[in-house]
Amino acid sequence: MADGSTMVIGAGSAKASASRRVGSLKKLARRRSTTALLLCAPLIVLIVGLKVYPTFYAIFLSMLDRKMEHFVGLNNFVYLLNRPSFQLVIFQSCLFAITAVVMKATLGFILAHLMHNIRGKNQRIWRGLLLVPWVIPLSLSTLSWWWLFDPSYSAFNWTLNWFGFESIPFLGTTWNARIAVIVVNTWFGAPFFMIMYLAALKSVPEQLYEAAAIDGATAWQKLIYITLPMMRNIILITVLYSLIVTFADFDIVRILTNGGPQDSTHLFATYAFNVGIESGNIPRGASVSLFMFPILATLAFFVLRDVLKRSKEIST
C-alpha cells in the first residue's frame, strides 16, 4: 500500500513536469508578441528574401571587379562618376524624376479639386475613368504610347499632318524623347496623386472652410491657408514615395526609347540593366543601381521626421 502510493506519487510528478512543459509552450504561444511575430513571419521572410538579401548582395557585388574575382572597394563608383555618359544618366534621372513628380503632383492636385467639386454619383464615374491609366499594366500602356509617338504612322503625327504641320520625331531627338518619357510617366502616375489628394481633401472638415469664409478668406486664400497646410503631410508622403518610385522607373524608358537617342534618356535602372545584364559587367551595374540609395534615404529620413512631428501637432 505504501509502495503503491509512492508509485502513484512518482508517476504523478512525471506527468506534472510534462504538463508543465506543455503549459509553458502554451504560455509562449499565448504571449501576444509571439503571435504577432508568427503572423508577420511570412512577410518578414519575403522582405528578407526579396529586398534585404538582394540589397546586401548588390552592395557586395558593387565592390568586385568585372570578373567578380577581386575586391576593388569603391573603384566602380569613382569610375562611374568620372564617365560623361554616367553623368548624363544622373542628370537625366534627376530631370525625369523631379519634373515628372512635380507634374504628377500638380495635375493630381488639380484633378482632385475638380473631382471634389463634382457631387453625387458622377464623381464615382469620373474617378473610375481617371484611374484607368494607373490600373492598366504599365508596359502595355507604354507600348500604346510608343505607337502614338511613332514617326511615320502615329496618330499624333497623322493629326499634325492633317492640320498641315510637319511630322515631329517624338522619340528621335534628345529633348523630344526626354519630354516624351516624362509625359508618359505623368499620364501614368497622376491618378495616384489624384486619389490620394482626393482622400485628403475629403478629410478636411467642412467647418474649417466655413470659418475661413466668415473670417473673410477668398477661394485662393482658403487654398493657401487651409487646404495646403491641412494636406501637407499627404503631399509630402506622396511626393517622397513617388520620387523614390520614379527614380527607380524602368518600364517606360526601356520600352519607349531604350535609353536612346544616344543614351540621352537612360535612367539609373535602365542604365544598370544596360551595363550589368546587356554588357555583362554585373558589378558595375550593381553600383549604378545603388547610386541613388544614400540620397533618397537621407531625403526620406528628413521628410518622415517632419511628417511625424506635424501629425502629432495637428491630430486632435
Binding site: 472638415p205 467647418q207 474649417l208 466655413e210 470659418a211 475661413a212 469664409a213 466668415i214 473670417d215 473673410g216 478668406a217 477668398t218 486664400q221 491657408y225 487651409i226 497646410p229 491641412m230 501637407r232 506635424r310 501637432e313 495637428i314 491630430s315 486632435t316
Partner: protein
Amino acid sequence: MSQVSIRKIVKEYEGDVQAVKGIDLEIDDHEFVVLVGPSGCGKSTTLRMIAGLEEITSGEIWIDGDVVNDVPPKDRDIAMVFQNYALYPHMSVFENMAFGLKLRKLPKDEIKRRVDDAARMLDIEMLLDRKPKALSGGQRQRVAMGRAIVRNPKVFLFDEPLSNLDAKLRVQMRTEIKKVHQLVPTTTVYVTHDQVEAMTLADRVVVMNHGVIEQVGTPNDLYHSPATKFVAGFIGSPAMNFIPCQLEQAAGALRLRLSDKLSFPVPADRTARYTSHAGKAGLVLGLRPEHIAETRPHTEPNQHDFDMMIDVDEPMGMETLVYFTIAGAGICGRVNPNAGATAGQSMKLRADLSNMHLIDDGTGKVL
C-alpha cells in the same frame, strides 16, 4: 447700429423638403436673441442663412439696413462660433484669432493689440502660443469666442457652442458668454436646443418647431404665457404637466373635470375667457410642477387640495419631485422635502390654478 431683419425666409432642400417655412424675425441692435427648438426644427439652418453659409430659397435677410441675400459671408461683417469650434489645427491660438484680421490687412500692431485685449477678457493670455490640440474643450471654446470678438463684427452668431462641453463647464461658459455680451454688447443670434441655455442667456427667445416660429418673447413671457402647447411643454424643466380635461358648466360656474372623482372650479378671472369652450372635446389642462405642491394650513384663492397615491418620489435636496397618475396621464409635482412624500402612499397635495393654462389639443393653441 446693426439690426438683423429676417423677412419670410424659406429654405428648401432637394426633393421639396422645407427646413424653414417662411419665418419673420426682427432683431434689434445690441440684442441677444436665442433660437431654440428640438433638432431638425430649422434653427441652425436659419442661423447659417444669416451667416451666408446656406443659400436662401426665398425671402430676404437684412443686416444693418442692407439686403444681404447675395452677399458672400466674408462681406457680411459677421463672426460665428461653431459647435465643434472649427479652430484651424495648424495655427497657434494667436494665429487663429488673428487670421480674420490678417486677411483684412490690418496693421500688425493693431492685430496684436486686439488679440491681446480679447485674450485678456477671455483669460487665455497664457495660451496664445499653443496649438488647439493642446487645449481643453473649454479653452478651445474661449479661443473660438476670441476669434469672433477680435473682429468686432456687426453680428455674432453662435451655433450650439456649448453642446460639446460637459455639464459643469457648460454652466460656467454660459455665464462667460453672458459676461462677454455685457462687456461687448454686439447684436447676437445664438442657437441651442437647450431651453435652460435659452432662458438664461436671451433678451428674447425664439422657439422654433418644424421650420416655423412658435413664439417669440422674453424668457419670462414664454414661461408664464406660452402661446402654444409646444412652447408650454418645451420651456421649463421638469416639463409642464398636460392633463386631459372637460370644461363643465353648471349653475353659472365653470368646473375643470380631470377624472370621475377629481374636478376643480375655474379661477373667477378666467371664467369669461373660457366660457365659450365649455363642453368642447380635446381640452388639456397645463399646469407646471411647481403649481402642484404639498398642502399647507393657509389657503390662497384658486388653490385646491386633493388626495393622491404617489407612484415615485425623487428627492432633489431642496425639493422632492413626486410622480402620480390622473386618468392615465403621468403628473409631476414639486413638494417640500419635509412633507413626507413616500412612494406607494397617499398624500394630500394642492393644485394652484391661478397659473393654469387651458389648451386646445386639436390646434395646439393655449386658450
